[in-house]
């Protein structure tokens, strides 16, 4: 089985600063993978390289679906999204002043076609497409638990709901791989549990999930495999329990000597 995402020897320099160093790992279809590491480890940079916001300095990223492989390092973000990789942002990037419904509808952009003449003349094609956009937007909102909230303004929603909205918008692009950047940040335990359930349901729809997360409860509860990076380098990989007890990982988070202390204590 070919992995849905293969990252091989990924390097990223920002001027003289090396943000990613020879990172390699794979993600298989249908997995829920956690990407963890201390602050500044390079996790969001990695997301950005995959999503096309940043261009890798070196290395290969290969996205494979339906027996076709696409090399996506250095492609533009809109191309990557059209290919089937969606992402959310660490600092939520919604269209603040548009309605909840419009936010999700915009997510449908890459799967629809009408432009000027369709808009003005309202051809049959355009009307059918617009109807589909509206209906599917409602479905995605319902899927994430925001049913009926379509007419609210995005920025007026509570924080946790904004996160859900961003996920709904990402889902609306019909991704095969969904990358979530700290989705549980700022959530209380109840919201985190809801998020965990949502991620499981997303995977049940056949979407592979890669998430950056600091909340270990969420990571333990939802990730089947975890990849740990530190200082831009791959550190460890495995099921959550193993990674949690890995001395190198403990050291990375808590500093040298902590691993021994953990073992002794």
């Amino acid at each position: 089985m070919i992995p849905i995402l293969e990252i091989k020897n990924l390097n990223k320099f920002f001027g003289g600063l090396r943000a990613l160093k020879d990172i390699s790992f794979n993600i298989n279809q249908g997995e829920i993978i956690g990407l963890i590491g201390p602050n500044g480890a390079g996790k969001t940079t990695l997301f950005n390289c995959v999503a096309g916001i940043e261009k890798p300095t070196d290395g290969r990223i290969t996205f494979s679906i339906d027996d076709r492989a696409f090399s996506i390092g250095g492609r533009k973000p809109e191309t990557v999204t059209a290919l089937g990789i969606a992402r959310t942002f660490q600092n939520i990037r919604l269209f603040d002043n548009l309605t909840v419904s419009d936010n999700v509808k915009i997510g449908r952009h890459c799967r629809t076609r009408s432009i000027f003449f369709g808009a003005v003349i309202r051809s049959k094609f355009q009307r059918t497409e617009e109807k589909m956009i509206t209906e599917s937007a409602e479905q995605f909102l319902e899927f994430v638990g925001l049913k009926g909230r379509g007419q609210e303004i995005a920025s007026s929603m509570p924080y946790g709901d904004q996160r859900r909205l961003e996920i709904a918008r990402a889902l609306a692009t019909e991704p095969r791989l969904l990358m979530l950047d700290e989705p549980a940040a700022g959530m209380n335990p109840q919201e985190s549990r809801g998020l965990t359930k949502l991620i499981h349901r997303i995977r049940d729809e056949g979407i592979t999930v890669l998430l950056i997360e600091h909340d270990m409860k969420v990571v333990m509860g939802v990730c089947e495999r975890v990849v740990v990076i530190n200082h831009g380098e791959w550190l460890a990989e495995g099921v959550p329990q193993d990674v949690q007890n890995n001395p190198k990982v403990i050291e990375a988070y808590l500093g040298t000597g902590a691993a021994d202390a953990a073992q002794a204590g």
Binding site: G37, N39, G40, A41, G42, K43, T44, T45, A51, G52, I53, K76, P77, E78, T81, A82, A86, R87, F89, Q90, N91, I92, R93, L94, F95, D96, N97, L98, D102, K105, I106, G107, R108, H109, C110, R111, T112, S114, I115, F116, G118, A119, V120, R122, Q126, E129, E130, I133, I153, Y159, Q162, R169, A170, A172, T173, D181, E182, A185, G186, I212
Partner: protein, 349 residues
Amino acid sequence: MDKPISPNLTRGAKIRIGLLILALVLPVLPLVSDYLLHIIILIFLYMILSLGLNIVPGFNGLLDLGYVGFYGIGAYTSGLLTYHFGLSYWVIIPLAFINGAIWGILLGAPTLRLTGDYFAIVTFGFSELVVLFLTNEIWLTRGPLGLPGIDVVSIDLTLFGGPKWEFVGEVPYYYLALCMVLVTVFVMYRIQDSRLGRAWFAIRDDEVAAVSCGINLLTYKVIAFAISAAFGAVGGSFFARWVTFLSPDMFKFWESFLILCMIVLGGMGNIWGVMIGAALLVSLSEVLREILPLFGLPAEVRFLAFGLIMVLMMRYRPAGMLPIPAVAAQMRAGRTKRKKEKPVAGLKS
């Protein structure tokens, strides 16, 4: 967004219907002189131009300083085609639309990838070059002498064995302009509530989020610019056939600035705001044009008022008189593009 038509119309809708009825019967009302009709036609023309310009800063958030270039290109193309080939107005209008769009694409494609300041400057340079061209290429445009004797609009049914009816006086132009405004407003509303409009608003609100939804920034910005230019050219075509005389100094930068004032004053991005801005500034301009010479000042000085208005507007009400929330948020002092932080102390990954 298909709501059933409720029997109780909103106040806004009632006002608009009232205005429409007023507009339809205006020419036959007593006390309505040709001069007044002329002013209102001017208002209609600037409404079309303002709605066209509104697409770029209002819907997309980019500053276009060269709008008069498209207006001039449209006017002169229309004027010359009429003058040399006697083309019918009804053929020229779609041609003008396409011509404007082509120029918009030609100018926009290499420049819309630039940052906002540079883009504004390049559009400004473009419109200045257009004026220079119109002034200097005397073999084509008769330069500063101007292009007189452009045919009036006519409805020519001779091909079908009918009469040819030429527009005489202001009244036929009034109704023509009114129709054109209504069509323009209709098109703007349709775009606003469509995939294209949403893509533009996404770009205006957050470009990074927009690309992550699959929107190609350059493509959609060029489309916006092209449609904006198309309406500018259509406005110019009407202008040429209405005043039947063109000269290059009608298309200087001040026109661009004036139209920009209209949309800023009225409320960028807001279709009705922009139209009200046009009505207000044209009226103000005419009033000042009459009053200033009484104080011994040249009429051009009315631009001083506009400059002052813009400075004050930016200071106190940058989103205009009828602001829309998206643009108000954009123009508010202190707003940076930095997005929300997590409520918990968040650090970069």
